[in-house]
Assembly symmetry: D2
């Protein structure tokens, strides 16, 4: 407990009778609250997950080596290498709710189709040439794009080029596993459509600002827009900073532009368990220290800067990933214009009523 | 009543006693239901509003003449000429809920700022050169654009050119008047900002598909996107027809593409009382006959075709407007590609639980 | 306009040319905005409906006389006498949206079944012995009860006793008529079930606080609870005043207890167009003056007091009804404990974004 | 994987190079998906939690013994003994999301006040005499009652009698711990109000069916009704079975009545993470086999019968508890009238889009 003036009066004397009681508890599959309340009901969140940084310069060569040694195909399904939070005991969980991996697809390779209850997205920090086929709709993957494969949508990937490509996958695998909600089904061993259109059918239907097809009036749990293109994200952020220059409200704090990717049928998060955002800092910006309930992962998209996590500052470059566990204080600092992709479990936290945040020592 | 086998057994004999009763009712501000139920509770809606067509070729010259004779300015506020449904007894109501007008602004003129509880939009069938200033944000008006001035937003217009411009205004004036919900306030006698930017601040913040500013997470009653540009509308409709060509679901019925303009914070209608849509028919398309509860107004944007309203067919050209009263059967027929803007009171009907529709004799 | 310093500069000289223009407008079914804006876009709501009071002591004898002279049955459907607002030009509308009537059913009479899109309720100020059969479910009507017959539910009434009974009906007939949303259908000429159970099936399923049948998990547009019993209403109000005595938050203002009747599937209004409430004032209470957008009707259920409507005070007794048009200032004053039933069009106003209110000169 | 015809082609040869790659992965806190996908992305949920039954006849004496040996008070906070699912490795978790405990309070004892982000309820299978004080409001605890202490509400308990009392506590401790959302704060060392009213203030305000205080129009995340009384639950279930006898729709399946406890401000679940229900089977009823995503706990309230969990049948008596892990097939069989309280994590599952269920082999 946080208050040392409260001694625990529920520490009974260690008698034979008490030991027998505890043994009898165990035999009946029982455990007392009073011996473990400090652990399981902490004063503030005490995540086992640790703040940690993965360097793209080390991830990418390892992905390349796995490309040479490990074929992609049915069974393992994806040449994806998960980021394992050092505090989470040997599971490939970046946070208790989220999975993040680098996925690598060699020239002309195909990752076969499957579907699962888990929600997934991909974000492309560099490269191009792969198409993701989502429920039969081929979706181009290019630098800066966010691509969705929401729960129970069939999807596969194929590389249409003679060079490899890598990107990051984000999923709610830990959450699904922990709460026993996962289903999985194989699809085609190849992707169902090898076409390589510039724009997916989903974008052609839904990618027009403020315009909804009359054939699609039913709201959907996840976004029907399979691709959020860099061109739009970049323009939105650019405009926010220009508006700030003009003295207009647009940024969330001085020098800090940001957008949330949303489901156009509702204006809410793209998927029920994962929030996706993109942040841009002007050169020379320091964001206020803040902490939030729930966990986040960031990837540097471009520019140079650093992250301060619980007082420890680390310099970051393109492709680097870092994780912010629940209630961990963080602040960003930019040297150049600094672009970051972010995803988190905020929809889980908010829909279940657990959201709290603190900025720079303000009352929570 | 619809069933002639039911005689009205509540027709008492016309006695002196009954006459005295009815006179006493009147003296006490009372009226029996049984003598008027057929009128006030009809078997199906029996609108007083009539189907009617206004020709742009006659509207526009009248607007021009008013430009010469009537100054625009404070008091009258707008050089707007309302379309008066022939069935609605001399009020400038195009339906019981909706107002439609042609507004005309001469070279270099300004229509002063004001705000009102009534929701309003403008749709531009031809021309350019005017800016609407909405809560201080200058919004360019160009051909094919939909511009919003939701309830209680200050707005004025100014013509930045040496030629006149005309467009249509749509409002919920009849609904507001009938239900006593209207408020009105004068603003600046000039517009507050004579800048003529290509894109308004609202578009720069909100006009990116599926991207929401993190500074704007609170949902709004009306759309924050003041302008829906023709370029986007046209592309969305074009894609729907191309997708149909490819055998993909996209149109609402064969040859009939359509979009609804929506509030990006919710995916719902742009304003709480007015729905706005745009429809495009391929050449040679005939839509099924349908009828709906609630009233609509259409304006031909481009192309040639005709409207069948209660069995009466009328040929239509660019700029022509027609009104479809509640539960009136309508069908469109196209000769060329046929583009139509539509607005209606559907949000009122749906939010209050009165929606019904029938297509081609299907059971309602 | 509210600001007399603004002359209307849009009053062009009355020339022959202008007259010709106006005549040409008329020929084309057009009307200028500038000549009528003061009327149709007022600074604040200027309802045609007037504040008015109907005395139960005069209503009831007239209902009795109609019982003697006018049979009840098919065609006229109901022996209901509508309260016609003196400002609404000879229609039986108590406000632009609401209908209120006294309905009278003689000993052993039946009012035949029908259904209509209009939403309806009954409130019983005195008497008992009638059952309303709603979609086949017989619902007892007793003093102080609120009974619902939401849109498109079949319903009829029958008097199981040897004495007559009267009550008030509230409907959205004016709103439905004005907006052309009404449908009507005859049902059985008799009621479908002459059983006289103490509690309806709807109450037996739904009338348990905070308990929802697992067989009824789909939310409904209108409340599934056909009857709200006086016993519960009285107890809820009594408790609020006792809590106030104990210094606990419970009343809406000192001495003023109130409940809203709600749909248990949503916690919202009982029907999409009509709000129903019950108010109780301690003896000697004066409520602050207030005005609201939207119109209300009150009926005195018990006690003595008075209503101040736009500065005019009128004393009220059991059964008296009064109407508060939109934006009309009102205040209640109680001599004894003072109980009032209220219904209004507030759900229309709120769902469509027009709600505003003012209390005692506070800024709106 | 479920399909044995798919061999895992992603099993590369066990070479030195591969071993080095895997070692390098580990050094960089990385783990491949392909070696663990079968575990973390199962075809259907494969809960670690096991179906299990705890006998009240063994729980209660252990609670009594702890009453003699362990004082209740600050630090340990509650004399609560958690049910530890045998599959969950030594934590007092009954499912991955839910905590269930028997709590025991001796004569005249007080459990001190505290609050926590975790949502909690108590259900009383026998006894009376304790009051829970929730945010200062004393709430009587009696047989058959459900009592809520939603997240961040202060609460303590005190026994006003000379005999002990025991009940079950249900919380979302595992979910909160796993996802790092927990906060905890001490309150008064005694309860703030030792009054013992028959009804809490929350019940007096909110416990009237379909009536909402006008002073409480803002919807709340959790139910404002701190107590759901047995008298109401029993009556609701009795009526469902009587309606079934009359041939009316009321039960969820023949012989199976059930209610969900709901938040009267929304009609939805009482708390954002925990669903509470009560089920009653007529004597001689067998429910169809079903399985659902998400986990449940049942306690027998009265009567005799048995539970079939994954083909294993166990006889149950009053007070016995059993757990149904995710996607575990279950069916109830009653000998007498059989009453069961149920709680589950269904709101988590549904709000996050993971709900699925199967009844008797029907397609999921």
């Amino acid at each position: 407990m946080n208050d040392e003036s409260h001694s625990n009066i529920m520490n009974p004397d260690d008698t034979a009778e008490l030991r027998q009681l505890y043994a009898d508890f165990e035999a009946e599959h029982l455990m007392p609250l009073w011996t473990q309340i400090d652990d399981i009901m902490p004063v503030v969140p005490k995540p086992k997950a640790l703040p940690h940084i993965w360097k793209w310069s080390r991830l990418f060569p390892l992905a390349e080596r796995s490309g040479a040694l490990v074929p992609v195909g049915r069974g393992g399904e994806r040449r994806a290498i998960g980021l394992a939070n050092p505090g989470l005991g040997g599971k490939a969980y970046i946070t208790p709710t989220l999975w993040a991996a680098i996925q690598y697809l060699g020239p002309r390779e195909t990752a076969p189709e499957h579907r699962h209850a888990q929600n997934a997205f991909r974000f492309v920090v560099e490269g191009e040439g792969v198409w993701t086929v989502v429920n039969g709709d081929p979706v181009r993957m290019s630098r800066g794009d966010l691509l969705l494969t929401p729960g129970w949508h069939f999807h596969g990937h194929h590389n249409d080029t003679d060079h490899p490509m890598a990107w990051i996958d984000g999923l709610d695998i830990p959450f699904s596993y922990q709460n026993d909600v996962g289903f999985f089904e194989f699809g085609a061993d190849r992707v169902t459509d090898y076409a390589t259109p510039r724009f997916s059918r989903g974008e052609r239907l839904w990618g027009h600002p403020g315009l909804r097809p009359l054939s699609e009036l039913k709201d959907t749990v996840s976004s029907p827009l399979a691709a959020y293109r860099w061109e739009h994200t970049d323009r939105a952020l650019t405009e926010q900073l220009l508006l700030e220059d003009e003295g207009q409200p647009a940024t969330i704090e001085p020098g800090h532009a940001a957008i949330r990717y949303v489901n156009p049928t509702t204006g809410g998060d793209v998927m029920p368990t994962i929030r996706c955002e993109f942040h841009r800092l002007r050169a020379g910006t320091v964001t206020p220290s803040r902490r939030e309930v729930g966990s986040s992962v960031f990837q540097i998209f471009e520019g140079a800067g650093s992250i301060m996590l619980n007082q420890v500052e680390t310099r970051l470059e393109t492709g680097d990933l870092f994780v912010v566990p629940s209630w961990t204080t963080w602040s960003l600092k930019s040297e150049t214009q600094f672009d970051l992709f972010r995803f988190s479990d905020a929809p889980v936290i908010e829909r279940l009523g657990f959201a709290r945040s603190q900025i720079e020592g303000a009352a929570r």
